[in-house]
Symmetry: C2
Subunit: 429 residues, 2 copies
């Protein structure tokens, strides 16, 4: 007697932009493979869009499009949300969960803003919520951190999680462009949006940092907990000096656990050229994870784009579908550790301070004295050839607290022979 | 009313070597964290060893040790196997599964030899079998390929999955050592065993290639299906020439899907220095995966060692435990695709052929003719300065079938002006 064929699972897709189109195509074109992996056919029952009259990809049947997202959600087993933005995404996902549907979302902004509300609702309803695509596009990072490292202690996550800024910094380094030129080039190539604020000011990376920190440390971390600094302050000169001292400038999303608590931040940082993250070029993403037992791990791949993001979405859909068919449930978001989130000024890192000082004896002693007064110790000093009575000094410090460094910089500014503090950059990795 | 506390899960550990010791320590020392993640306390009820009288790590209570593995297995909810070897591991795991226990194993040899028997038994019994630690130690690669990429099509896997040979090749490149010296150094540092055969002949890498290929292509691939060539034929000269042409020599585990079927092989290969795998140094491992939608992905980390491997084991234990507590089941091994496994001579790749020829006009034309006769086209030719009437020729071919290349090399050997075919290396990545 042949086994009963499992009933198809009804899939609702919310959003039909770059990612949604690729998700829809994959569901329509790879049915048999997906069914074999999921354990049941996956039937795309509808795609909610704002305007169903707009022309879409020719592979997408018009009759799937609907402007009535609520009704679509109500009849679904699995709801995929790739519309982005806080509303109506939040309301629709809460409705899906309340109705017993599993949810797969790529919405980093929503998760960073209000993830715990969604997680709790999914937990109460006993349904899955998956979001691999919300961090670093195609790169499997959510599942490894949530599941593969569930028996280990993650101590640090360093991520290049925004391809636009990585491309911009890369062009500054390789092409000698200044920031504005590099951003313009990224816009021309479609890597940056007309309004690049979310990328260059670090908002996108901060949302991903909040999600990664929550997963890694089993602690609720929201967007407001992330200290954020974009790349708008990075100059061509900073990038050139970085190269001279064996570093590259990267915009990093950092989540660290110390004995005192958790530090989560996004800022440009100098990364030594021999560090695996230094070789991550162009619009690629990579996440470097350090765990007590596993040691250093790195995950590398495409962090954005329709097809890569759709790959991550569909992996989640298959997981959710398997649970529908075979029973069981994906991992719950757990915040059992509830570690303290440290204020930005408590972060501890190394710094490179570049300054212009008067070229005369005794100046270095004064500068060194100012650092020592604030408990900041110097690792290396480098002095460029003096020009017109001024010398350029490059100090690298040992690890120091952000608060101490800020006080040191203020003190240096007050020193008579210090003409300019040209830049202050953190050194990571 | 407080929720009922879940009953502890009984964990049996088979083996107490380098990995087993670290697994035991973690279970004993991180109880509360593991319980929070697993949803129930994990109680280590015993450790099966060959000789319980041998002194162990001081953190491991003697009373946990037993020589009666059968009884231990019979009373367990989850059985962790880190003893290695085919027997008694296979018999004990089949017994565990038949008795309803979930299984976590790091045993690559057993999985490559007879995985499908285990998978089928686990499937029939409705229990989990997890084996993240069997491939590339701490690096999450099994879970990403099985689950994260479940909605995508993997087309190629290129892995540096044996740290010993990677260390040896690295030393040959950076220190100019010959193979024997580099192996000796690896042995002195504990990276290679007294009998390095399993590593240098590629057996270890071949077992991992079989496992990765099975997962990536949903096709049953055993050790016998893997074309295997170790690094014993790699000379210091090969490594030096590789550097001169912008390559590094790596021992790669390769699994490729073409329209004709699946090719799985392990051999030394020239990797371009700009490829992400080229920068994987020392005893580190990395697996490079190409998928249709996701594009290129890379997973990097420590591929061996007690603590890293234990990290992977414990991640699996938490997954298995969650299914015990919450219901559900991990992914089943599926071989629904059942693709054809191609014979080694059907593999298609580029080649670098180094040879010594007589230094006189017309020789290159003869050589080029021999290649053309077999349908192999030349990409580049490089000639070193002639010495004593002989010239060194370095040919790089376009992609060609292994069978065509073999016939070409035989024909070249028969040419009067060809004095020696010094080396034939594949170019990958």
């Amino acid at each position: 007697m042949p086994a009963a064929r499992p009933a198809p699972l009804r899939i609702a897709l919310l959003g039909c932009g770059v990612v949604g189109t690729q998700v829809a195509r994959a569901l329509l074109e790879h049915g048999p493979d997906l069914a074999a992996r999921a354990g049941a056919p996956l039937e795309l029952v509808g795609i909610a869009v704002r305007n169903a009259a707009v022309q879409r990809d020719s592979a997408i049947p018009r009759e799937l499009l609907t402007e009535d997202a609520e009704t679509l959600v109500d009849g679904a087993d699995i709801v995929i949300e790739v519309m982005g933005g806080l509303e109506p995404a939040r309301t629709l996902l809460l409705r899906a969960v309340a109705g017993g549907a599993a949810v797969v979302t790529a919405n980093k902004a929503l998760l960073a803003d209000d993830g715990p509300t969604l997680y709790k609702a999914a937990d109460a309803a006993g349904v899955d919520i998956y979001f691999e695509a919300a961090v670093a596009g195609a790169i499997p990072i959510v599942r490894p951190v949530r599941e593969s490292l569930a028996g280990d202690h993650v101590t640090r996550v360093l991520g290049i999680v925004n391809g636009t800024t990585n491309y911009v910094l890369d062009q500054m380094a390789s092409g000698g462009l200044d920031l504005e030129e590099a951003v313009k080039q990224a816009q021309d190539l479609g890597y940056a949006e007309a309004d690049p604020t979310a990328d260059v000011e670090g908002f996108d990376a901060a949302a991903k940092a909040a999600i990664l920190a929550s997963l890694a440390f089993h602690t609720r971390v929201g967007l407001d907990d992330v200290a954020r600094e974009g790349i708008t302050g990075v100059t061509a000169d900073d990038v050139a000096w970085a190269a001279r001292t064996g570093h590259v400038v990267k915009l990093l999303a950092i989540a660290e656990r110390t004995e005192e608590g958790v530090s989560v931040r996004v800022h440009p940082a100098l990364v030594p050229t021999e560090h695996p993250l230094a070789n991550v070029r162009g619009a690629f993403n990579a996440v470097f994870v350090e765990a007590d037992a596993a040691g250093p791990l790195m995950f590398y791949g495409q962090g954005a784009g329709g097809r890569p993001t759709a790959s991550a979405v569909l992996g989640d859909v298959v997981s959710a579908a398997r649970h529908r068919v075979l029973g069981g449930k994906g991992p719950q978001e757990s915040t059992y550790a509830a570690l303290r989130i440290l204020p930005p000024e408590a972060a501890v890192t190394r710094y490179q301070v570049r300054m212009v000082v008067a070229d005369r004896p005794g100046v270095l002693a004064q500068v060194a004295g100012a650092l020592a007064d604030h408990g900041v110790s110097i690792d290396t000093v480098r002095q460029a050839a003096p020009v017109d009575g001024s010398a350029q000094l490059l100090l690298t410090t040992h690890a120091a607290r952000e608060a101490s460094l800020a006080a040191t910089v203020a003190a240096l500014r007050g020193l008579e022979p210090v003409q300019e503090i040209t830049s202050v950059l953190r050194v990571e990795g």
